[in-house]
Symmetry: C2
Subunit: 214 residues, 2 copies
DNA sequence: GGATGCATAACAAGCGTTCGGTACGTAAGC
DNA sequence: GCTTACGTACCGAACGCTTGTTATGCATCC
């Protein structure tokens, strides 16, 4: 076999693929060196060649999770304000198989993260970053008059993330109860309820409809 | 040592206590027979005497989690409608150390639950039950005029659960960012935004204040 | 004395990790 | 232009440890 000292990164990518596969159907609790090695038809010795310890592999798995989350295909931001917020939250929901796998792995990682102080703060930082990404668009929405002038963008970001991730968890456990349209409708209703009533006539009962036009 | 053939149930309770302790600071990933035995100063043989297999112990742990959730001290329901919904959701949030431990264990169980089909449907059923508990009070709120007449209580229950559990997760990872008052304020704002504007004068910006009087 | 309650110790399986050995590619020596 | 030397990539087996589980034995009670 060729040592080919250039494709070291390519090999690590193969490992990533195997790790992802194992994670997707056994979770972090089922992430074992032998399982990963078997998933790529290799030996555990080869694994250790690229990741000297299991902890390194776990760290890599979490990095991979973050990277794949950051690099996933995303909706274009249609317009400033709430419409962008809506697009960003839709990008989080498990609407496709890929999104479902990613979310499933994400939730699965919480057991580990809660048990390790370092991983706990890592996860907390990720949440902080996610809220920070959302905040400017909430500020824009407020400045556009889509939200009450007194609205606190930071707290609103936390609320939006809470709602979305809570919906993710329920949808993961009961996909039949939360198909694509239900998730989208719920998100739209949530956004409509935090938005100001629109000036063009619609009062609260049809706010859920009007928000979809953002 | 006394065989004392009456306190078999008492002994199982001791085991429960040890299981709880292990779960609380190592999660389901750290739930091992020896860890539980050590936590109660006993042997693994004694454990097997009460729980013939590890799966039995895991099942017991999940039952225990559900039981302690059902039997936790709860707020009185102050008045019909949204006020009761608020009380029920406040009872979920990690506002006390006990609540935090329970929620932490709950989240930790998701890794296992997602990896096992049987446990997945168990968890889905639990969510269905939780929403069902919430629904009648949302219906009452709607009938009282606190919610739009067109509101769907079932979907609202799902939204409320989503928001609350999403907030739980963020609070578990970052207790400093989500102390007691912040959690309560966020919940109140959420409820206020789904509620109809109150007829006694308050418009949207202070809805967050008015809801607290429910 | 037989049944119950439990500790002790051993078990096989699986874990993360280590290690010797092999195949390959590159670079240097003459 | 062979040969030698060396570093990289990887396998396969083994290590020591922990896991869940089982077997043995000794108390204690009825």
């Amino acid at each position: 076999m060729p040592p080919a000292p250039g494709d070291r990164e390519a090999r690590r990518k193969d490992v990533s693929e195997a790790v992802w596969h194992v994670l997707a159907d056994r979770g972090f609790g089922g992430l074992t060196l032998r399982a990963v090695a078997a998933a790529m038809g290799a030996s555990t010795g080869m694994l250790m060649h690229y990741f000297p310890t299991k902890r390194a592999l776990i760290t890599h798995a979490l990095d991979l999770l973050e990277k794949r989350t950051a690099e996933r295909p995303r909706r274009a931001h249609p317009a400033a304000g709430l419409a962008t917020v809506r697009a960003m939250l839709l990008d989080i929901l498990p609407l496709t198989p890929d999104d479902t796998a990613r979310n499933r792995i994400w939730v699965s990682s919480w057991d580990l993260s809660l048990a390790d102080d370092g991983l706990t703060t890592d996860q907390a930082d990720r949440y902080t970053r996610l809220r920070s990404t959302l905040r400017p668009h909430l500020e824009a929405a407020r400045d556009l008059g889509e939200l009450p002038a007194a609205a606190d963008p930071d707290q609103l970001a936390a609320s939006a993330v809470a709602f979305t991730h809570g919906l993710v968890v329920q949808a993961l456990f009961d996909p039949g109860r939360f198909p694509r349209d239900v998730q989208i409708t719920m998100l739209d209703d949530f956004l409509a309820s935090t938005a100001l009533p629109r000036s063009d006539g619609g009062s609260r009962p049809d706010a859920g409809i009007s928000v979809r036009s953002y």
